[in-house]
Symmetry: C2
Amino acid sequence: MSDQSRVDFQVDPSRYRHWRLTVDGEVATLAMAVDEDGGLVPGYELKLNSYDLGVDIELNDAVQRLRFEHPEVRVVVLTSGREKIFCAGANIKMLATSSHPWKVNFCKFTNETRNGIEDATANSGQIWLAAVNGTASGGGYELALACEHILLIDDRSSVVSLPELPLLGVLPGTGGLTRVTDKRHVRRDVADYFATRAEGVGGRKAVLWRLVDEVAPRPSWDDAVAARAADLAARSHRPGATSADGVALTPLGKSVEADSITYRHVTARLDRGGGAVDITVTGPDAAAPDDVASLQKLGADSWPLAMTRELDDLILDLRINEPELGTWVLRTSGDPDLVLSWDDLLYGSASDWLANEIVHYYKRTLKRLDVTSRSLIALIEPGSCFAGSLLELALAADRSFMLSGVFEDDDRSKYGAAGAEGGPAEHVPAVIVVSSANLGALPMANGLTRLETRFYGDANQLAAVTARAGQALAAEESAELGLVTFAPDDIDWTDEIRVAMEERASFSPDALTGLEANYRFTGPETMETKIFGRLTAWQNWIFNRPNAAGPAGALRRYGTGQRADFDRKRV
Amino acid sequence: MSDQSRVDFQVDPSRYRHWRLTVDGEVATLAMAVDEDGGLVPGYELKLNSYDLGVDIELNDAVQRLRFEHPEVRVVVLTSGREKIFCAGANIKMLATSSHPWKVNFCKFTNETRNGIEDATANSGQIWLAAVNGTASGGGYELALACEHILLIDDRSSVVSLPELPLLGVLPGTGGLTRVTDKRHVRRDVADYFATRAEGVGGRKAVLWRLVDEVAPRPSWDDAVAARAADLAARSHRPGATSADGVALTPLGKSVEADSITYRHVTARLDRGGGAVDITVTGPDAAAPDDVASLQKLGADSWPLAMTRELDDLILDLRINEPELGTWVLRTSGDPDLVLSWDDLLYGSASDWLANEIVHYYKRTLKRLDVTSRSLIALIEPGSCFAGSLLELALAADRSFMLSGVFEDDDRSKYGAAGAEGGPAEHVPAVIVVSSANLGALPMANGLTRLETRFYGDANQLAAVTARAGQALAAEESAELGLVTFAPDDIDWTDEIRVAMEERASFSPDALTGLEANYRFTGPETMETKIFGRLTAWQNWIFNRPNAAGPAGALRRYGTGQRADFDRKRV
């Protein structure tokens, strides 16, 4: 699969092959009707509303657009456009024939999309209702689990099920095991029985076991869905905006060359020899408008929204298309004060629906970075603007370097300052600034801010840093406060970074993935960290074991009529 | 390694090959001096105080005996009996040549032992002090991390390090990644740098980075250790018992036959054809004494201590010696009232040091069961005594069956009632009883009781169950309260259990391991669940990947002079 052409995450409803999106006042309906012949990669048919990455790319697009383009929508009804089948989950043949990295990447993205559905319900007041009008099995049921409410049709044949273990010898990989117990509070022995019962559960028993919230028979199905949607809409806290206020997510300007990917505010230079990518986020070129009403006029052109969309797309692009580029170097370029002017506007206007959406979108994009299996190194140099919201990029990094002083000459290595074009800023030492954007609005998956995570268990240090909010901090001070890892001067800079980069590139990529997945989520755990940290790790292991992926494994033998041949040793 | 003779977990200080245990008043010293030629399995030398399972079996024994045999000990000094080396961690050649199941089992046991050290510090007031008198690398540093306080010798050569990632392409697998950030509050970027720096960190920098608590130079080393030990002893809450009160952990009576393992209170029948083990715990044959002082006289013969030691040994034995027996059937046999009389004595006497030790030991044994990668099925039949502390066995199970009514005739399958020898109890329906033992004293690794875990997010149901504490509950009532999974009657019992057993045996063992590891720890996470759930799962994955375990992988090539050849794709 690695030979296929570049996967593109940009799409819009006019090009959907697998979904039908309709909006009727405060209720949107998203109907899944997967085109069997529309697989992203040749070699499988997407029967029974099963999905592959391409189907989920459209779903992700729909989740995003509903939030930005449809402020009037308070309820999203997720249903099937097919008869008797809601969704059969991830396509088995696709999984069985995919490489391990592809499977893992696919699962990560689908998990992020489902978390995005929960985020829309929680933070946009766009409440998702699963109208399960046919059987929902495996990933199909997990999709319903991401919704706030599950209504199942009661027709003596439609069931919900998690048949992965009995049929395929793998786990439900999109949060199913975590959500049944931790979200829906299904008792763990009942959950165990359910996940080993390939045939699933329907009707009243599905309600009794808490697998769904309610059932409705076919004759009254449409009324039941409409009634539940109206009820949920009444509970929504979405601000009373109208469709006229929506912001169109216009196509991104993106140029992909052999060794670069360029957007308006974000650029990536691909260093294939060094196994690295140099990512530069450029700050705003003007101060934010004075009032939040002007945000609406700027729409998708406003710096924070445009930058976030570009960064989000770049992360997705590099993750799936450039797996061998194992280190991402994060830089910024611009004026810290201009970044802070936008932060002031956005982070002080949480009651404005659009400001709220932009902040949550940036939050989700940073979360995507947190679960990205690449080493993240932030370089903070003269001309950079790691202030407030952009400082989060450095705080998300596994390690950061901040130049103490300035570069004394222009004879810099490739890891020297990039970005600004010879302006005077390069002759002024870099500073970083903590702002209100770092103090609560952008939590990680563990529920803590990146600063809280960084200073976990060290309330004094956190307080010392918080007390300096709004102040420009030079390198030595930043290092002393623990905000950056190292603060070398001009003499050591080039060598120190070269060694760090070369060293990182020499390590086992798998061990780095495991290390980073452990260190990035210090402290408390949540359903989200359990899904990415625990469930995913177990699934990765199982996907690698002969009992699943070997020639006689359950995943490979599914549908062949042959039973899997298991090594019975328990590990 | 699976061909070797049976691993035995029973040992005593007179037979230690690798440790020297000395007790001087309230301070015990445990010095590691590993016998290079004393490997448990042929094929490697235990150089530089590196360890294998045999070394850790002795360590586990020492941790246990100190708690029971030395009530006067308040501080345990863990140090090295070798020059300039504290401990080099798990033996690399042993790891490189072991099978995957052996490695995973080995890591699980060593993790449990280190958790046991923390449990002794927290719950026995036996505070562990790591006197790191030479370099502590990898598992050697992780051993120190399990101690409450780390004192490192400052001699310009001794360091602490986690070199697994740079040298071996695997993770520190004994909780190191979790403990540096979550226990010692090392900043995550510093922790990242530390874990990629094979040469480690010593002296003042190790203190500055919080990797150790203090350093002391060689000339004043002994004084520094003694002073710190005295300080910690003064902080201990251990009740002021004397050495005369200690309870000797006498050798266990154990008989191992081809298809059975028999102790006094615990028996296991091995069903190799069915891939299962039938475990029966027999209740006490007499009521508990009236007062806690009598416990002392009974010593290791008291029912709860003897039963716990036997169950603990059986779990360890089956886990490593019988990996193909994937389902454990848990039964009890005896009089529920007699079990409750012991619960009354123990769980009402937390201030007595010996009662406290027995309760915490049983707690740890149940935790061992929770992290055991076997399907656990509890069968509750007439003649059983699933009351209070023994009810925890059923609550630990993935699924439980309780017979409704009695067996109408004796024509029962092999899954019919076992244990009691034809006494009248078999003609009385089984009951279960919730007691104070279920309401707080026996938490799981997630910090919740098994009842709280079972009814996670359902406070009403938990309250309903708690309100019935002390009452004998029949099958229908138990099922209604959610205390058992199924309550079939005599007519369905045999078939239902046969089907469940056969089905379980037909599933992928790996997928079952992953499923159970996810479902058993509903709700909040702790350092312990992170170690077993997240860190272990990542390590399992890495251990399976060619970059570590393949012929050109880092683990296999270590020490050969050849560099590992990595597939650079990030997953």
